[in-house]
Amino acid sequence: MERAYKVYAINNGTVIDHIPTPLALKVVEILGLGNEGIFTIGVGFQSKSLPGGKDILKIENRILLESETDTIALIAPDATINIIKDGRVSEKRIISIPQSIYGVMQCPNPNCATNKLGAHRHFELEDKNTMTYRCQYCERVTEILPENLTAPE
């Protein structure tokens, strides 16, 4: 039997679809949604474009900033993002990986000032093709790995 709905529809807020399973919880983490408002998650739906399945995240009453939705592109570059107002899609947002990443990526170098001296995490895009970023403190170049992404500082 066809499911009545996959995840409850929302009247106002942000819908993020086509997140590769199981990264929806990681998206919740890097957006810092933890204790803030209502969000619903659907995990492991079938998807033509994502053989391992897709997750859906619906955040009620919050329109994500572009800087936030671009951060999602780091782990889900093909995610689709719809902004919902009064029950209708008011904006289909195109996401692209950000030039700068603040706060959400931990430098993998344990001897970096961000890990040892309290410097605020800051990376700049080094190479778009390889999705590598350079830490602005220790200057190491690193690939984007979900395990290096954390809740915002």
């Binding site: 000032a113 001296l117 403190y137 190491r140 170049v141």
Partner: protein, 307 residues
């Protein structure tokens, strides 16, 4: 080239080719007697959160020779961090005591962080394995002084090329001046592939070699030697065998040609035989001495004592 007055000197990555020229030519002017007293009435903080006798003494000599005064500490044991003060708070405090600060710290990125909280120029005197820009400036000045140019030189860089920040920075700097390079190292300490692919992308001519004699056909202008550290090898015998093959003596110079100049950031352990010291090929002590005019030039530029 942006103005140097008030500028932080943190990483070679922030420097343009005209910037490097400005530092080298100003160092030459300082050495020839120009810009005397360029740090008069200036107070420089020398904050060494890890010991480094050579760099610290060279900076402190530079300040005193230029008429400035210097204060600070030579190891973290004498700083308030021992009492639990944060690094940023230490820097925020000291910034009110001085006109510029020189920082050495074992943590990578410490100088960058300091520059963000200080209201005076910060000069990085080494941050962990990351950057040590003034070493590269004095290397460039020494090369310029010896050859009268920086462009189109042939340079061999030898030793620990995997971990050595000095050789990484020098490689970057020399690539800006069209150098032809050969990287000489044991297989376990080769130049990182990321640096080699960067050089390829920039169209730099380079090759790799296992011994200096392998580069005998290049008529090298410079052989830049660095120390191979014992702690990089698990097996002491392997270290001994490798280190033995990386010792420069008069025979090495004969095979490379009498034109070659030998450089070394010091301290030397036994990678250059003492018999080389009194040859015209050895310029490593001049190189160490050039740290002083180079740092005088830099301090003068960032504090506005030199335009």
């Amino acid at each position: 080239m942006s103005s140097f007055k008030g500028r932080n000197i943190i990483s070679l990555r922030d420097m343009t080719t005209p910037d490097l020229w400005k530092i080298v030519t100003t160092a030459e002017e300082v050495k020839s007697g120009k810009h005397r007293g360029c740090l008069l009435d200036k107070t420089i903080a020398s904050l060494f959160f890890e010991p480094s006798t050579r760099t610290r003494l060279s900076f402190e000599s530079a300040v005193v020779k230029s008429g400035g005064s210097v204060f600070g500490f030579a190891d973290p044991g004498s700083s308030s961090q021992k009492k639990g003060e944060s690094f940023s708070d230490s820097i925020r405090t000291v910034t009110g005591y001085c006109d510029a600060m020189v920082i050495r710290h074992p943590v990578e990125g410490a100088a960058r962080l300091a520059s963000e909280v200080a209201s005076v120029p910060v000069i990085n005197a080494g941050d962990g394995a990351n950057q040590h820009p003034t070493q590269t400036f004095l290397d460039l000045f020494t090369i310029y002084e010896e050859f009268g140019r920086l462009e189109n030189l042939k340079i061999g860089i030898m030793g620990d090329l995997k971990y050595g920040r000095t050789v990484h920075s020098l490689t970057h700097a020399m690539s800006l001046f069209g150098a032809e390079m050969v990287f000489i190292s044991p297989p376990s300490l080769e130049m990182p592939s990321t640096i080699l692919s960067d050089l390829s992308d920039k169209g730099v001519h380079f090759r790799t070699a296992k011994t200096p004699e392998d580069a005998a056909d290049m008529n090298l202008d410079i052989l830049y030697v660095t120390r191979i550290q014992k702690e990089r090898f698990g097996d002491p015998l392997e270290y001994k065998n490798v280190a033995h093959g990386y010792r420069i003596d008069r025979n090495t110079i004969a095979s490379l040609g009498e034109q070659v100049r030998i450089m070394h950031p010091l301290p030397r352990i036994d990678e250059i035989a003492e018999e080389v010291d009194n040859t015209p090929n050895a310029i490593y002590f001049t190189q160490a001495h050039n740290g002083v005019p180079t740092r005088q030039a830099l301090l003068g530029l960032v504090t506005g004592g030199i335009n």
